[in-house]
């Protein structure tokens, strides 16, 4: 998981549960604003306008555009992976072995393509 690797690279400790929790900051600067923005876009919630405004105010225009671009492209990337059944990369599987089970990733349908699926909860 590149979140952990990139945080390690700057000597920061990241809480990976932010990936699966609501509006969690994960120990990342402006993390809660970012995750709430992502949630509002992906879910098309009534809170989207407010979440967008909070992101623009907290991040400033340049970072806001980067956040919007990241949210946009990852909505495409997840569909690339999940429409083709591409297996996880060995390095990714190894580096996430300790967190996939506790965070529930191994119960998602795509885990089958990587041979690590657990039964859904």
């Amino acid at each position: 998981m590149l979140l952990r690797a990139s945080s390690d690279a700057v000597g920061a400790e990241v809480d990976l549960s932010a990936a699966v929790e609501e509006a969690a900051d994960g120990g990342v600067e402006d993390g809660a604003v970012l995750t709430a923005f992502a949630e509002a876009v992906v879910r098309a919630t009534d809170d989207l306008n407010a979440a967008r405004a909070r992101a623009l105010e907290a991040l400033g225009p340049a970072k806001f555009v980067e956040a919007a671009a990241t949210i946009g492209i990852f909505n495409g990337l997840v569909r690339v992976a999940d429409s083709t059944g591409i297996p996880g990369d060995p390095q990714m599987l190894e580096s996430t072995a300790d967190v996939r089970g506790p965070l529930g990733f191994n119960r998602w349908a795509g885990a089958r393509a990587s041979g690590v699926a657990e039964a859904p909860a």
Binding site: M1, S6, E66
Partner: protein
């Protein structure tokens, strides 16, 4: 011109809008296996279905599709566009059997390009971009060599591959790779050198900020990869 600068509420990098414009125009061009009008129809179906993503699939009021696409293509465009958590091997194999593997991959490439651009617009707070005018012409019917089985649902490039698997997921249709991964470079990864660096200074956000967003979007879509 698509993605006009004046539509955005704040300034957007020129390389980002340039990538969006080029990839958007690609949707309207003949591909390897689908004609331009078919590709635009696929994009329209994916968009319309994704707009209704908060409604259960069985209760969406779709009306009659205004397209001559095969039934399985209509289903695939809608399902990949709006319900990625419901994709599985059995369904994909049925779609691939009916459509052909390369036609399925090209369809997916059009859908993911459309969804990424639409989600970007939603995040920016602007209307979705008007779909491109379809261009006339016949599909190239190019099928690359060096495809093989790595356990994915579709064949992928297998010779001299050193990068992430997701980057070769669409490799059965090289034009689809160029169209979508041009946007990936502009909206996320930068160059290959940038991508391998864990500390980023080529983007306004830090890499942990970018990767937190990536992880959250992936988790919201229950994407294992």
């Amino acid at each position: 011109m698509s993605f006009e600068d004046s539509r955005f509420p704040v300034p957007v990098r020129g390389d980002l809008t340039a990538a969006l414009r080029r990839s958007w125009a690609d949707i309207g061009r003949p591909g390897a296996w689908w004609k331009g009008p078919e590709r635009v129809a696929i994009a329209a179906l994916a968009r319309a279905e994704r707009i209704r993503r908060n409604e259960p699939p069985w209760s969406r009021d779709r009306g009659e599709p205004r397209t001559r696409l095969p039934e399985k293509a209509i289903e695939a465009a809608r399902k990949i566009g709006a319900d990625p958590t419901h994709l599985d091997r059995d369904w994909a194999e049925a779609a691939i059997t009916e459509l052909g593997d390369a036609r399925y991959v090209e369809l997916a490439s059009v859908v993911v390009t459309t969804v990424a651009a639409d989600a970007f617009c939603e995040a920016m707070g602007i209307e979705h971009e008007t779909l491109p005018e379809p261009e006339a012409g016949e599909p190239s019917r190019e099928r690359p060599d060096n495809m093989g089985d790595i356990g994915a649902w579709v064949p992928v490039q297998v010779i001299d591959w050193q990068r992430a698997n997701v980057a070769r997921a669409l490799s059965l249709v090289p034009e689809g790779v160029r169209t979508f991964f041009r946007m990936v470079a502009a909206m996320y990864s930068g160059t290959a050198t940038d991508f391998n660096e864990m500390v980023w200074d080529h983007r306004p956000m830090s890499r942990p900020q970018v990767e937190l967003l990536a992880a959250r979007v992936s988790a919201l879509n229950q994407c294992f990869y």
